[in-house]
């Protein structure tokens, strides 16, 4: 790799950068303002863990046209639906890897996975969605009616703007999916190594559909202390389960706040192979 040593030209760079920084009088940091804003943001984040309503019904109710966007990125699909064609999306060039501001959070917990895949850990209760109407975007997941034990299947996740104003921001294309039994996580997705996000603008009533794959397998405590769940997890026993989705949305208009939009559980039956 070609570059000067630290003690060669690098020293001159260091000296000049140092002199440049010294020449400017830095504004002091207002620690009280930082603490106050952080507290406010923590409160707002608690309120911003959002839940969805029956989005499939919402989308059907809109009766809108499917604008027909399919990105086909690593098995992730997305399509958009809008009542008045009022949904706009950024060009494909705007698709880019997620900034990953929380990428070290999982590591801080001793887990290789990161949020939102860590939101519902194996063997722990599923995150409850907030009250409907608390925030403009709601999320709902539609799972296949029945999935064979041990098999993989695709779920549709619908994000709907239920507010009266347009909502714009960045949405991660891969939703985090969770399978639950009696409200306890028995499987969750492991996320993408390089998750893609996309700019969206949702008009009131408009929605966007994402897709994600899941497996009818059972994980246990500790299985998610790796970069992905083990491949040899046992199949789920036939029976009734629930499925939830978490969608990562970055609210560009409000300082880039990252929200994890949580859906309520949708029913999914696991049948014998």
């Amino acid at each position: 790799m070609s570059a000067p040593e630290r003690n060669g030209a690098g020293d001159r760079i260091g000296e000049q950068l140092s002199a440049s920084a010294d020449a400017a009088t830095q504004r002091p940091i207002d620690v009280d303002a930082v603490l106050a804003a952080s507290r406010a943001r923590r409160r707002s984040r608690r309120g911003a863990i959002l839940g969805g309503t029956a989005a499939a019904a919402v989308v059907l109710g809109l009766g809108g046209a499917v604008l027909g966007l399919s990105l086909g990125v690593g098995g992730i699909g997305v399509s958009t639906t809008a009542g008045d064609g009022a949904l706009s999306e950024a060009p494909a060039a705007d698709t880019m890897p997620e900034a990953g501001s929380e990428s070290a959070e999982g590591d801080a917990l001793g887990f290789a996975l990161v949020p939102p895949e860590l939101a519902n850990r194996c063997g722990e209760p599923v995150t409850a969605p907030p009250d409907a109407g608390a925030v403009p975007l709601t999320v709902a997941v539609t799972a296949p009616q029945a999935v064979e034990a041990g098999a993989s299947a695709t779920a549709i996740v619908t994000v709907t703007n239920t507010s009266d104003a347009a909502v714009s921001g960045q949405i991660r294309l891969a939703p985090a999916l969770t399978v639950a039994e009696a409200g306890v996580t028995v499987w969750h997705s492991s996320g993408e190594a390089d998750p893609l996000s996309r700019s969206i603008e949702l008009a009131p009533g408009a929605s966007i559909e994402l897709t994600g794959d899941f497996e009818a397998r059972r994980c246990g405590e500790g299985d998610d202390r790796r970069t992905s769940l083990p491949a040899d997890l046992p199949a789920l026993s036939p029976g009734a389960y629930g499925m939830a989705a978490i969608v990562v949305f970055t609210d560009v208009a409000h300082g880039g706040a990252v929200d994890h939009l949580v859906s309520p559980l949708a029913a999914v039956d696991v049948v014998a192979h």
């Binding site: 070609s2 440049s20 952080s38 917990l109």
Partner: protein, 177 residues
Amino acid sequence: MGGSWSAVAETLVVERGAALSRYAYLLTGNVDDAADLVQDALVRTFGQPRMGLTLPRAEAYVRRAILNAVIDRSRRNGTWRRVRHLALAPESVESSAAASDERLDLAARVRRLAPRQAACIVLRYYDDLTVDAIAAVLGISSGAVKRYLSDGLKALSSAIDPAGDRAARTGGSHVGT
């Protein structure tokens, strides 16, 4: 470090606030922008629960948040950058006589680099971090850090060494770790 997140935040501001402000200043070139970036980055870092948040880890979060903000800003300004040469008069000819001019010239050149290149240059040569430490702070691989440093230094070569162009072409030496 134990204690609550607010204690970590206060300690970080007291002990490392100046260093963070300088880092942001070297990336932006504007004292007010730098202060706003640091403030926002601190709020982003401490505005959400993070278990096991130590002082070094918090500082890494903040530095990464500052860089992400600079990258976002760079993307937003991208269109203007591509066309501004059509609207602005050429910059004045650089003088190599005065040390201050040289200093300002180099700092300005660093800011014109791609944000990640600039961050790697600042962390390596101003904050004196190793390649591995930079990788940890920015959440990227050591190989990527070396590449950013190499590319950044090539771009800066004419400002730091009259023979820099030749060194860049012939490979120069290597990035110390």
